[in-house]
Amino acid sequence: MELDVQTWLKIAAFSGGGLAIGFGAIGAAIGEGHTAAKANHAISRNPEMAGDVFKSMLVGQAVAESAAIFSLVIALILLFSEFSATSFIMVWAVFSAGLCTGLGAIGSGIGAGYPAGAACEGMVRQPEMSNRLTTNMLIGSAVCQTPSVFALVVSFILIYTDYSTKPMWPMWAAVLGAGLSAGLSAIGAGIGSGLVAQSSCEGISRQPKATAIATNSMLLGQAITQTTAIYGLLISFILLFKNYPASDAIAPAMALLGAGLCMGIGGIGPGIGEGITAQSAVTWIVRNRESAGEITRTMLVGMAVSESTGIYSMVIALILLFVV
């Protein structure tokens, strides 16, 4: 059986759509499940607060599932759009778009569940802080969605770029690498950001007077945690927008695919590690506000060291892109 470009395009779009929706559901389900489990715990401690816990859980889960809806949007575009088969690169691009959004939604879905769970437990501990806790939880959850937004942007670029003038070799590897870079690197950043937001919500419920510093240190911690996702986005953009000379050799294509994989996988660990560092820092800043400056400095140094492996990955990715 001989398959033409249009048939391959359909195969790639259907499998990409399946991956997008499948991976997208994993993160949101774990995040929502975590929130529900924490809400159970909270209600068992104070059944009279069940109404408030329910409300907080509901709005938290609504925001947490945004990343899963991004995956759904891309999956449906892949399943129901007619793509022009001007180049065989498009086959790889649509597959990569599905993979990218699906992977990118995992971390944000899981991460957004952490602050929602902590807010549910926190409002039982400190009922008068319910409103402030919900607000802090929503801000933290919304920031957790940023890496999945990066993945969504790369997916849209992959789908709507005109590849008719690009050489098949090595461009197919560049589009696949771009999806892997943005999608995989978003996993660690999403989970890490969630850990930071969780400790901020816990801090507000334990030390209501430290609300402002808990929110501010959360935002600082989340911003740094997400830098590896930005590296992933950067490598994706370079992979997509750099001009490559046509080549029949396998090595240049493998270098581009390797660059995407290197940055994507290399971004997972630092994202989670930095999240753990900032999570601890926020916890102790809230408990000991007098030492906030010292703890923040230690946090920044710790995060910088934790991020070094992400920087190594980016350096290797850049070498693969520009030197090899």
Binding site: G33, A36, E65, V73
Partner: protein
């Protein structure tokens, strides 16, 4: 417990629908009929999704940690199908703008965040205001 979530469903649902209707009328008057219709379609399903999510909460809450994740996964898959309806309609029909429909799908989330940010700004302004 159920009353609390019903109140929040009504509050955010009605606000989302109101914003969508105003924006849709403005778009239709400006000659962008598919954008207005797409936004309204997406918002309606966003609200329905939110209501289904709220009504299924008690089911998830009755489970322990692992079962809760399993029920959440099932619920998400079911709601995926629900949200797919307007998106597929928008992709298949030129009567609805696809991107406006996507924007509508996120209307509940947008209303929740805007509400909270406005409350936060109100609290900050009250704290700054001099007393006496």
């Amino acid at each position: 417990m159920i009353d609390a979530t019903r109140k929040i469903q009504k509050k955010y649902g009605s606000q989302a629908i109101f914003i969508a209707i105003v924006a849709a009328i403005a778009a239709i008057l400006a000659g962008a009929r598919p954008i207005g219709k797409g936004l309204l379609l997406g918002t309606i399903f966003s609200v329905v999704n939110f209501v289904v999510m709220a009504e299924s909460l008690p089911l998830r809450m009755r489970q322990n940690g692992k079962k809760s994740v399993f029920f959440s996964f099932g619920g998400i898959c079911m709601r995926y199908v629900l949200i797919s309806i307007p998106l597929v309609l928008a992709l298949k029909s030129e009567k609805f703008n696809f991107y406006a429909t996507v924007a509508g799908i996120f209307m509940i989330q947008a209303v929740i965040l805007i509400n909270r940010l406005m409350e936060l700004m109100h609290v900050k302004r009250s704290n700054i205001r001099p007393t006496g």
